[in-house]
Amino acid sequence: MLEIKNLHARIAEDGTEIIRGLNLSVKAGEVAAIMGPNGSGKSTLSYILAGREDYEVTEGDILFNGQSILEMDPAERAATGIFLAFQYPMEIPGVATMEFLKTAINAQRKARGEEELKIPDLLKRVRSAADELEMDMNMLKRPLNVGFSGGEKKRAEILQMKLLEPKLCMLDETDSGLDIDALKIVADGVNALRSPDRAVVVITHYQRLLDYIVPDTVHVLYRGQIIKSGSKDLALDLEKNGYAGVIGEAA
């Protein structure tokens, strides 16, 4: 589903190279974890996949379902089914969460040539998704992410993910700022989305989240490259022995 080939990318403003020849492939139905020490390029990779303009791809390609997405802007990529749950979701003052959800859902439907969702349908879907995440519907009247606690923001991200039904779900440090109860709810939300035609990429620094969202594959990102790939046991090993061993091996 996702095929990253010899990707090189740098910060557009100052030319600093962040991704240096990265190869990664994630199949439909797979849950892949990307781990690595701070500053290895994990979040940057998620931004580049989502199409953020601050980064320039200088070499290589990103294929999504066989198509290169390099020329697409973030909205077009989203409409093809790429979703990023942000580590730090942005506040949108004055825009009620419900209104935002409706705008996003209908924008994607429109891009795919589908009819707009009728209000009762929309409400039904939102209500059921919110229930699963134990979110109060009243919260959806508030402006998106404005004054939300860390946990509320992360839930709101997962709520959007459920409603937009993406093909590729990327989660950037979704566990940060969550207590254990919230973490379980969020993880259940993600697990419910696991399906044979959907891939999930979990970006995380710690093993903790992977106890709840059990990955099929684990990849270690270091200095802009995947230096080691393995099964879920690799994450446990990293938890026990740290990154030093793996980094040493690669060097």
């Binding site: 973030p74 909205a75 990529r77 209104e99 994607q108």
Partner: protein, 507 residues
């Protein structure tokens, strides 16, 4: 929200240099010769069939104006205006004053039809449809606020009011709603008592000029204890070339009365600049309330900064009575230059003034706008919410004054000025003047300036919302607290306008 979608559709459907109301109506005009002198003033006064006291009032203002200098303190730049190169009177021919709809030139009606707004009212007038029935013009009647809305309209074309609707029904409630010209003839005692009592003849250069040459505008009087049964509104249209429009509006809410008044403005697209110098006076007596809303969409000039309206306006409300309240709400998207400070004099004890403003500037527009809240009485309070949005190469200044007089015990003010920048070539400026001569006054001022951040835009687009739609969504969120203050009829229109005004603001 349908309005957001409409904003987007409008944004998409309109080219950068396309101003929707830029058409010109080819209609024969009765035009005064160019230039300004006593004869012209007498000519205007005679055209309006005014009594002698009015003519004298104008002439006195003109004498005064000749010794005045154009103000230069505002943060706007424009070539010097040649006041002798303007027409001070233009009227569609065969049109001496408000008449019934049947008598109105069909070309004129078509103009208002194109402007889109008061048409559903004209349908009612023409007997096509009864009030409260959905209009056949509406594809989706339940969504349309006009279909059941009841808004009385006064339409001003260049220098004359061409039609005022619902007059009879309003008269039943005792409300007088007519053109100012008619009021001078029919209700001289009210006009003489209140005209110039809030904005004195010598107030400022443009107000004095207006006092000498004003041509038309609306007059409203709501008697004691009456709640005006419908929204009142005036649509101003400048059509004729090289014409100054000098609107004069006077609204009086007697003790315990309430009125909500809306004004809308458009002009054709022309290469020359046109002048609009209005004076609006509001008077609220004991326990009275006036709500005044403006959606100003004068032609702003093209993307190179050529043409457009110079909008030099003096608007002031006097909370003359105890417990009175005046509230200004404005959405400013048009004009090449805007110089406008709708203000409140809080004279009566416990009176309250409010100012809610959205000022959008794009292209080469220059806006210097804000408000004055002058606290004179005891326990007076005021609230200012200003949202400035700058895009393109525009400059957008908020200039506001809040002052408490020595005797204004317990005066309170809350001011919030937020500026939003789109792009890197525009400017936002905030110039607050705060002055308290009474130690018990409590004034709060908050100001923010932000850019639509790359982070925000990326986040919204990541959800599949295309760039223009994403900006419209963020901007509509930014102005939400002010939009909520607008009457329903204008809220949707205002949101659409903001979208259109910001068209092409992202590269």
């Amino acid at each position: 929200m349908p309005a957001v979608q409409e904003t987007i559709d409008q944004v998409r459907s309109i080219d950068v240099d396309q101003y929707k109301y830029g058409f010109e109506t080819l209609i024969e005009s009765d035009l005064a010769p160019k230039g300004l002198n006593e004869d012209i003033i007498r000519f205007i006064s005679a055209k309006k069939e005014e009594p002698e006291w009015m003519t004298q009032w104008r002439l006195k203002a003109f004498e005064r104006w000749k010794s005045m200098e154009e103000p230069t303190w505002a943060r706007v730049n424009y070539p010097k205006i040649d006041f002798q190169d303007l027409h001070y009177y233009a009227a569609p021919k065969n049109q001496t004053g408000p008449k019934s709809l049947d008598e109105v030139d069909p070309e004129l009606l078509r103009t208002y039809e194109k402007l889109g707004i008061p048409l559903r009212e004209q349908e009612i007038l023409a007997g096509v449809r009864k009030q409260g029935e959905p209009s056949t013009l509406d594809e989706n009647p339940s969504d349309n606020v006009y279909s059941s809305g009841r808004v009385a309209v006064d339409a001003v074309f260049d220098s004359v009011s061409v039609v005022t609707t619902f007059k009879k029904e309003l008269a039943k409630a005792g409300v007088i709603f007519c053109s100012i010209s008619e009021a001078i003839r029919e209700h001289p005692e009210l006009v003489q008592k209140y005209l110039g009592s809030v904005v004195p003849v010598s107030d400022n250069f443009y107000a004095t000029l207006n006092s000498a040459v004003f041509t038309d505008g609306s007059f409203v009087y709501v008697p004691k204890g009456v709640r005006c049964p419908m929204e009142l509104s005036t649509y101003f249209r400048i059509n004729e070339k090289n014409t100054g429009q000098f609107e004069r509006t006077l609204i009086i809410a007697d003790e315990g009365a309430y009125v909500s008044y809306l004004e809308g403005c458009t002009a054709p697209q022309r290469d020359e600049n046109q002048l609009h110098a209005a004076v609006v006076e509001l008077i609220a007596l004991d326990d009275a309330e006036i709500k005044y809303s403006t959606v100003q969409n004068w032609y702003p000039g093209d993307s190179q900064g050529k043409g457009g309206i110079y909008n030099f306006v003096t608007k002031r409300g006097d909370c003359r009575g105890r417990n009175s309240k005046i509230s200004w709400t404005q959405v400013e998207t048009g004009s090449a230059i805007t110089w406008k400070y709708p203000s409140c004099i809080l004279r009566g004890d416990n009176s309250r003034g409010e100012f809610y403003s959205i000022a959008v500037s794009n292209g080469h527009q220059q806006i210097d706008s804000g408000t004055k809240m002058l606290h004179l009485g005891k326990n007076t309070s005021s609230r200012i919410i200003s949202k400035g949005i700058s895009a393109g190469n525009s400059q957008n200044t908020y200039r506001g004054q809040v002052s408490a007089h020595r005797k204004a015990a317990n005066a309170r003010n809350f001011t919030q000025c937020d500026s939003l920048l789109i792009g890197n070539d525009c400017g936002a400026h905030t110039v607050p003047y705060i002055e308290a001569k009474n130690a018990t006054a409590q004034f709060e001022h908050e100001a923010t300036t932000s850019k639509i951040s790359e982070d925000q835009l990326f986040y919204v687009m990541q959800r599949g919302i295309p760039e223009e739609e994403a900006i419209a969504l963020i901007v509509n969120g930014f102005v939400k607290d002010v939009i909520q203050e607008l009457p329903m009829e204008f809220a949707v229109e205002a949101q659409k306008l903001i979208g259109i005004s910001l068209e092409g603001s992202v590269g």
